[in-house]
Amino acid sequence: MTAVADPAARHAVTTTGRADGAPMVFAHGFGCDQGMWRHVAPRFEATHRVVLFDHVGAGRSDLSAWSPERHGRLEGYAADVIELVEALGLPPVVFVGHSVSAMIGVLAAAERPDLFDRLVLVGPSPRYVDAPGYRGGFSQEEIDELLETMDGNYLGWSQHIAPVIMGQPDRPELGEELSSSFCRTDPAIARRFARTTFLSDNREDLGRVRTPSLVVQCGDDVIAPVEVGQYVHDHLAGSDLVVLDVTGHCPNLSAPDDLSAAIEAWLAR
């Protein structure tokens, strides 16, 4: 494992909000970067210290820190989070993880409960592939097809997008910085991250967590169906479940008001 001098730089950390506020760390899921929290994070700045970061391989993170061994398992990403929280020297944090980062937060909290005050899990799934007695939402064949599609759409899934967006002369309103970083991932890393995300099975890890947690489930989510959110809630001791009347997998973009309200209400309890 490579020793990292500065995890904050490795993860392109952005800190806003009240310096003396309780810290909230927002973690993006597979596909995009910390920009995913653009509509949610600002709502907590008045009350909290808000920390945003990119996983290694995403956004403006240090790509050289990515390693096939470490990041071939979600535990590697969880170790990154632990290093980051430790390096920032924060009191126990509220960790808000979207999609695969929900499980990364579960792994990190199971490993180092002392660093985590609460977990907010948005659209979590401990296993995407169906298994006997478990419905993850995808058959093995479908995941294989996904990975095949990803391999086949190598250009489309990755660098193809950003240049096309940047090259639009009729959109002067679009800042170049934004377009060049949002949802841009290194194609080779994105491909491996997809395997790591969709082939992991972390159901057993749910039982290791004692941190108070909130499961936020979208009412109609093809990536993480309601049954999966219910499963997480059932297997996570002392967790609460909120189902948002929202379609899609990204309420942080499509329903930021609902999501923020749910989080605020739970934190206030």
Partner: protein, 616 residues
């Protein structure tokens, strides 16, 4: 049919969450369904497209408010249909999307991607293969080859763990493992040429050219994100490792034959004689793992002449060891009474003309007349002998030099030189590994050697040669073979004139060295020298020139005794008439076992003393 429905493109109006509000004929045709209104667009896509939408396109559309020419696949009645999706978000929040068939582009892109994948894969394979092959070829023995293979398996080849088995005939034995306890032996014989699955592991046979050399058993990584093992690369690596094991085994056999040969050739039992002593050190180099061609030998040319030789054959390995053996035998065969060093080198020139591998060998050869201490020596391109004589500073013998063996054939003469050794003198012969280093000149090396030799000169012979060698090699990590030979001429009889009082000091030194060389302990040597010195002073005072000192050992009733005789041409007066001289004899008497004064044409004082210390 309206223009909307007649469009060759698929046209859609979506709610902000992606639900289809309107769709034209092309969309219905491509998807094969009429009920697309109310369905979310991602649900019309393939699984990959659906996840792509949820994780990438949806967020992008939300933030950027448009998408341009993104390749996705529609689920159609006849399978997946690649389409290019362009979408903008209108002021009312509705999404206006256009799909255009991208069969051609998708095929082109797939070909591009396939070509790129193939290139990336073959580059990765090549990189893994090259790295592994380089590591295998650097490994020097069969064990090192299997170690390198294990390292490569859990390194470049991406296995979670690996165990290597060495094959001996049909039997496999565990060599070692990485990241696991050694896996159990493969069940059943390993017959296939190619890697095969064995439970959750992969067995890679390591075939040499004639036989199975071993088996590598690898465990694939089970991490969710891990790439599968590349069987083609494992196959190629297995073949490489088999050949590397062939080579390593052959090399190990050759090396061990050469080492055995060298050992037997250098197993010198020097002739034993009271007239001389010999001590040698041979330190084989370990860096090259191959024997070198350094050698030494000590033998009697005839009853009175001792031959000492140190040589260095060019090259390493079996060939060098065998050439060294032949050359060493040739020296013994060609050395004969009356031949002498220069003539011997000439004959060796003719010999190496026949034995090519011994050509350009270097050699230092010396013959010592044991009765007189006359040393004849010659060096063929070899470092000069170093003479350590009594209290004098060590001296390199730079005479008698000529070129390496075979270099001179028919075009020059071999030369030799002569040196008179004092009794007790030592002669050091060595090969260049003792003092030659990459970072200093030969002169500096020889200077260092001379200095170290001076410091160890008075130590007992074996200790001196060992201490000299270890001090000289302290800065060297076994790079080269080193051969060091130290011979001491005891001198059967010490006989020398003592001209005056100044010469007396030198004579005392010679006698002391001679006594030590005969095995006298320091206390005995000191007392004998003191007694002889007293007799010599008396002789010099009363007879002037013509005083001689002679020392020899003879067997006595209680072990060897030393007999020191001082002769002069004058006449000692009776003790009573010369109180001073009387005191001299008394002093002598106290120091030795017996003193006899004989008067004839001159005076002879004979002192006897047992070499062993007297019991007090």
């Amino acid at each position: 049919m309206t223009g909307w429905d007649a469009s060759p493109s698929g046209l859609l109006v979506l709610d902000p969450d992606g639900t289809v509000r309107q769709a034209n004929g092309a969309v219905r045709r491509w998807t094969g369904r009429d009920d697309v209104v109310g369905v979310r667009l991602p649900d019309l896509l393939s699984v990959g497209g659906r996840i792509y939408w949820e994780t990438h396109l949806g967020p992008l559309l939300h933030v950027e408010r448009r998408l341009d020419e993104v390749l996705v696949e529609l689920r159609g009645p006849d399978g997946r249909l690649p389409v290019l999706l362009t979408a903008v978000v209108g002021d009312d929040g509705a999404v206006h999307a256009a799909l255009s068939s991208a069969r051609e582009r998708a095929r082109f892109e797939r070909e591009l991607v396939a070509a790129r994948h193939a290139a990336e894969r073959s580059e990765a394979q090549l990189r893994a293969l090259q790295g592994t092959t380089a590591a295998l070829s650097r490994a020097l023995g069969p064990d090192a080859v299997l170690d390198a293979l294990l390292d490569a398996a859990v390194g470049a080849l991406g296995a979670a763990a690996a165990t290597a088995f060495a094959a001996d005939g049909d039997a496999l034995s565990v060599h070692g493992a990485r990241h696991e306890d050694p896996a159990p032996l493969p069940a059943g014989p390993v017959l296939s040429r190619a890697p095969r699955a064995d439970g959750d592991r992969v067995l890679v046979p390591l075939h040499g050219s004639a036989a199975l050399r071993g088996v590598l058993s690898v465990k694939p990584r089970d991490d969710a994100g891990a790439e599968p093992l590349d069987l083609d690369v494992l196959d190629a690596v297995g073949a490489q490792a088999g050949l590397a094991l062939d080579r390593a085994q052959l090399h190990a056999q050759t090396a061990s034959v050469a080492a055995e040969l060298q050992h037997s050739l250098l197993d010198v039992t020097p002739p034993s004689d009271a007239r001389f002593s010999v001590a040698a050190v041979y330190r084989p180099g370990v860096e090259a793992l191959e024997v070198g061609g350094d050698f030494y030998d000590v033998f009697l040319v005839d009853e009175g002449v001792l031959a000492v030789v140190v040589g260095d054959v060019v090259g390493r390995g079996l060939q060098a060891a065998s050439a060294m053996g032949q050359l060493r035998s040739a020296v013994r065969a060609l050395a004969a009474p009356g031949t002498g060093p220069a003539e011997l080198l000439s004959r060796l020139d003719r010999f190496v003309d026949q034995v090519e591998a011994a050509g350009m060998a270097t050699l230092a050869y010396a013959e010592l007349e044991l009765a007189t201490g006359v040393l004849r020596y010659a060096c063929a391109g070899h470092p000069p002998p170093l003479l350590l004589a009594g209290a004098a500073a060590p001296r390199l013998l730079w005479e008698g030099r000529s070129t390496p063996l075979g270099a001179l054939l028919g075009r020059g003469r071999r030369t030799e030189s002569v040196e008179q050794l004092p009794p007790g003198a030592r002669l050091l012969l060595c090969t260049d590994g003792l003092f030659e280093r990459r970072d200093r000149s030969l002169d500096e090396g020889l200077e260092l050697l001379t200095g170290v030799a001076a410091e160890v000169a008075t130590a007992p012979l074996g200790e001196a040669v060992r201490s000299l060698t270890s001090r000289m090699l302290a800065d060297e990590r076994g790079r080269d073979d080193v051969c060091v030979l130290l011979v001491q001429w005891v001198g059967g009889v010490l006989e020398r004139p003592v001209r005056d009082v100044d010469d007396l000091a030198v004579a005392r030194g010679d006698l002391s060295v001679w006594l030590r060389a005969r095995g006298a302990v320091p206390a005995v040597a000191e007392e004998v020298v003191l007694a002889a010195s007293e007799a010599l002073v008396n002789a010099l005072q009363h007879s002037g020139p013509g005083v001689r000192l002679r020392a020899e050992t003879t067997p006595g009733p209680e072990g060897d005794q030393v007999v020191v005789t001082v002769l002069d041409a004058g006449r000692w007066r009776p003790a009573a008439a010369d109180p001073e001289r009387g005191r001299g004899l008394q002093i002598i008497g106290a120091l030795v076992d017996d003193v006899v004064l004989e008067a004839g044409s001159g005076t002879t004082v004979v002192l006897r003393r047992r070499l062993e210390e007297r019991a007090s």
